[in-house]
């Protein structure tokens, strides 16, 4: 039966090639615009660590009080040195790390080579197991290294390539800001997008690579300055990096792993208790106003998905809806023009379901053709995203099997939906009336 319907549909489509082309073009462009913008949206709204994101939490402490809150009553989105180090010492979560962004220079050992600027983070040892950071060689450093402020470093595979030609460099030393550091681990192409562990400073997405990680307190000791944002509610009383550490300025990010609801509740209590202690000690003149968000909530709170991306997706979906309304109108006209044919078929005994099958087949063929065109146009769209959008985001948009399958599926389902009402009307054609009028 299906081959018969296919035959009927193809004949009908051939009879008005202009109209058929118009419907296919409309579906193709509508689907391609939606899928191209969706590919970008999918890329930026993805969960960077899906197996663990609900267990990772970002605490916020209200150390500035009512005058420092923004219009939503939110406390600062980073921490000052005092709170961050106190919370590290208290060690109330299963795993946790304070961190700040650094941008030191690495001096190559070979004479005549220019120093290179690298970016990275000063973190605690638990950073690596907490975020399941993959290692190519070696590992992160130990808790003892944290305490001893050891001169150790974990480097990216890219920096390892540059300095050691990609060989296992564990145990070798590199010169950072004039001091020697022992390599303990080489990361295995770790480039999570968004940079969820320090959204405040990365702004979410980054084209760069995190080249070096070194122990937090070591970096503080040798005075490797903060390369991220510093926000102050007052001018620091002392100058320099030491002054920053003594100031209420916020510049440190913090992340903690809490494995179940009980742990989260306990940690919340700890934060509130900490704020109450500070209130009693006279440091805070206001009641506790802490936040503890899991990673997905935190990414949402920090508006990691650019609003441009969402607006584009919505507008493109609007375009798809217009294309479907357009297709519905044209199918309706086309189907109803064949009322006499329908009348004859019905009079000769065809069931309503047969009419449904026939016309939905026709709509499905248009959807399929539109989907194929949509595939090509989506390919063009995703390829051209790179010269239209900022590089950090454009680089993430990819054409893969699931996107292609989705493109075809959306095209066919959407066209079938558009064809439903016209088909319904076609099935309601009264055979007697049609035969009589002829």
């Amino acid at each position: 039966m299906l081959t018969y319907y296919l035959d009927l549909a193809l004949r009908s489509l051939k009879r008005s090639p202009g109209l058929t082309a118009l419907m296919v073009l409309a579906i193709g462009f509508g689907v391609a615009a939606s899928m191209t913008t969706y590919s970008v949206f999918r890329a930026v709204s993805g969960d960077p660590i899906p197996w663990k994101s609900s267990k990772l939490f970002v605490p916020q402490i209200d150390m500035w009080g009512p005058n420092g809150r923004d219009s939503d009553g939110e406390p600062p989105d980073a921490m000052d040195y005092l709170d961050a180090t106190t919370m590290m010492r208290a060690h109330r979560a299963k795993l946790q790390s304070a961190m700040y962004q650094i941008s030191p220079s690495v001096v190559p050992t070979e004479a005549g080579k220019h120093p290179i600027n690298v970016s990275g983070h000063a973190v605690y040892s638990e950073f690596f197991p907490m975020l399941d950071v993959p290692f190519l060689y070696g590992n992160g450093w130990s808790a003892a290294d944290d305490v001893q402020r050891a001169a150790v470093v974990a480097i990216s595979s890219k920096l390892n390539e540059k300095l050691f030609g990609g060989a296992n460099s564990v145990g070798k030393s590199i010169n950072i800001e004039g001091k020697d550091y022992r390599v303990v681990g080489v990361l295995n192409n770790w480039n999570p997008q968004p940079r969820f562990f320090d959204v405040v400073n990365s702004g979410g997405f980054s084209t760069g690579v995190e080249d070096v990680f070194m122990p937090f307190e070591r970096a503080i000791d040798v005075g490797i300055p903060n390369d991220g944002n510093t926000n102050c509610n007052a001018v620091p009383a002392e100058s320099g990096f030491i002054g920053l550490q003594h100031s209420p300025c916020v510049w440190i990010s913090y992340m903690a792993e809490l494995d179940d609801a009980a742990a989260v509740a306990t940690y919340r209590q700890y934060l509130d208790g900490y704020a109450r202690d500070q209130q009693q000690a006279g440091r805070f003149a206001w009641p506790a106003n802490n936040r503890l968000r899991d990673l997905p909530e935190w990414l949402d709170n920090q508006h990691v998905v650019p609003s441009d991306t969402k607006v584009s997706l919505l507008v493109a979906l609007g375009l798809l809806v217009v294309c479907l309304v357009n297709t519905a109108g044209l199918l309706l006209a086309k189907f109803l023009r064949r009322s006499s044919e329908i009348g004859v078929r019905r009079a000769l005994g065809a069931q309503r379901t047969a009419i449904y099958a026939q016309f939905l087949t026709e709509a499905g063929i248009i959807g399929l053709a539109g989907g194929v065109l949509g595939l090509l146009l989506t390919g063009v769209g995703v390829a051209s995203v790179s010269w239209v959008l900022p590089k950090d985001i454009a680089a993430l948009a990819r054409l893969d099997f699931s996107l292609l399958a989705l493109t075809l599926l959306v095209a066919i389902v959407a066209t079938l939906l558009a064809g439903l009402y016209p088909t319904f009307r076609a099935s309601r054609v009264q055979p007697a009336w049609q035969l009589k009028s002829n």
């Binding site: 507008v315 809806v321 309706l332």
Partner: protein
């Protein structure tokens, strides 16, 4: 006998009632198209306005070079930077050069709060601070409206962590207007910290370093301070003699590395002409404008094609009726105006609904993404565009209809 074609609305309405669903669909399509196109055009216009904001600089013949000292004690960078500047200014093809911590639309800035009353609790505005020297005005090409430039003996140096506001400052006219709306700030004091700075000069315009939309409210509030920052990734702004920009883009890094190897000019954004700075600064806005334009073009094309397709169908369906009308004395103009009027009626219905949808969509987007309020002129422009588009699209099938011969009335279908 000549007569003007009379437009009869009642028979058109009667005919449309027989194609109720088709009519509603095409009107709906016009309405949705209008709603989306209005908002897309509005977004495009907003982005173009942002992209065309002047920096206040003379942007041609301007080169930016970021140079970070590596393995050099921060306390010793000031004389090194001075030596760089002296050599740069003597390089053939260079007109002038200055050192600054940042420059307009660089994508990043050092901002702070400014007050005119030292006891005020909160600042009057957020300002972008440029830490630079007495060559900033000629190198950037800024226009001094009042007062004077820095003198070379006023240029100090300080670490970024320990600086205190200098005794003198040059501010932008926009900041002048914000702080002293009733008159000139010249000779008056502003507070960027605890210590006052006296305003010695006012420049016509100088944009801040940030380009994200959050910074739009304070984009033109800027202050120039006569301090060379140590311990900071400073940039040189170098003005080339006319036609020499390409040359010095090549010679400047060579010169700098020859002067001192202990430096780093970052691969990315380390060496940029100002044209490149502008392109990179507004990449996101340009991308959004291009995307929205593409969507507008596709939408209008599809809607126009849809109207052509549907009207062609209706014409084909009604050949017999048209023939009868022609046989009964209707002129070609009558038939033409019938279809034009029919389309106009549908379109008017569509754009009325569309205008409401456009505003609703704008309000919704505004709620979600802090989009500005759509100005009604966009809706009006959109209405006119869609009505014209409808009439244009219907013209070809309507002309075909008008050429239907009266003989058709006698043919059976």
């Amino acid at each position: 006998m000549q007569r003007t074609p009379s437009i009869q609305i009642r028979p058109i309405l009667a005919a449309l009632r027989r194609h109720k669903a088709g009519t509603i669909l095409i009107a709906l399509q016009i309405a949705l198209t209008l709603a989306i196109v209005c908002n897309a055009l509005f977004i495009i216009e907003q982005r173009i306005t942002r992209m065309s904001r002047p920096t206040g600089l003379i942007e041609s013949d301007l080169l930016t070079v970021q140079s970070n000292w590596v393995g050099v004690d921060a306390d010793t960078t000031t004389p090194l930077a001075r030596a760089d500047l002296l050599a740069l200014r003597q390089l053939p093809g260079v007109q002038d050069a200055t050192l600054t911590n940042s420059y307009p639309i660089r994508g990043g800035a050092w901002t702070t709060d400014v007050r005119i009353d030292p006891n005020a609790k909160s600042g009057m505005a957020t300002v972008t601070q440029y830490f630079t020297d007495d060559h900033a005005l000629p190198s950037m090409g800024l226009k001094l409206l009042a007062g004077r430039n820095f003198r070379s003996d006023e240029i100090g140096s300080a670490s970024r962590d320990s600086y205190t506001p200098p005794p003198v400052a040059i501010i932008s006219a926009a900041l002048n207007g914000k702080l002293y709306p009733d008159g000139s700030a010249l000779g008056k004091q502003i507070y960027l910290g605890m210590k006052p700075s006296t305003v010695i000069g006012i420049v016509e315009r100088l944009q801040g370093g940030e380009t994200d939309t959050d910074s739009d409210t304070y984009a033109d509030y800027t202050v120039l301070l006569p301090i060379q920052l140590t311990n900071y990734a400073n940039s040189y702004l170098i003005r080339a003699r006319p036609g020499q920009l390409a040359n010095i883009t090549r010679t400047v890094p060579q010169l700098l590395y020859k002067l001192n190897r202990m430096r780093l000019i970052p691969e990315k954004r380390g060496l940029r002409t100002f044209d490149a700075v502008r392109t990179q600064a507004y990449r996101r806005d340009r991308g959004m404008a291009i995307l929205m334009s593409a969507i507008c073009v596709i939408l209008l094309a599809i809607t126009a094609a849809g109207i052509v397709g549907l009207t062609s169908f209706w014409v084909g369906q009604r050949r017999k009726q048209i023939g009868v009308r022609r046989a009964l004395g209707a002129t070609r103009a009558d038939i033409l105006s019938y279809f034009l009027t029919e389309n106009l009626l549908i379109s008017v219905g569509g754009v009325l609904l569309g205008a409401v949808l456009a505003i609703a969509l704008n309000l919704w987007l505004g709620q979600l993404f802090e989009l500005a309020r759509l100005s009604l002129s966009y809706v009006l422009v959109g209405v006119v565009v869609l009505l014209l588009l409808g009439q244009g699209a219907v013209l070809a099938p309507a002309l075909r209809a008008s050429r239907v011969s009266p003989v058709e009335a006698t043919r059976s279908v």
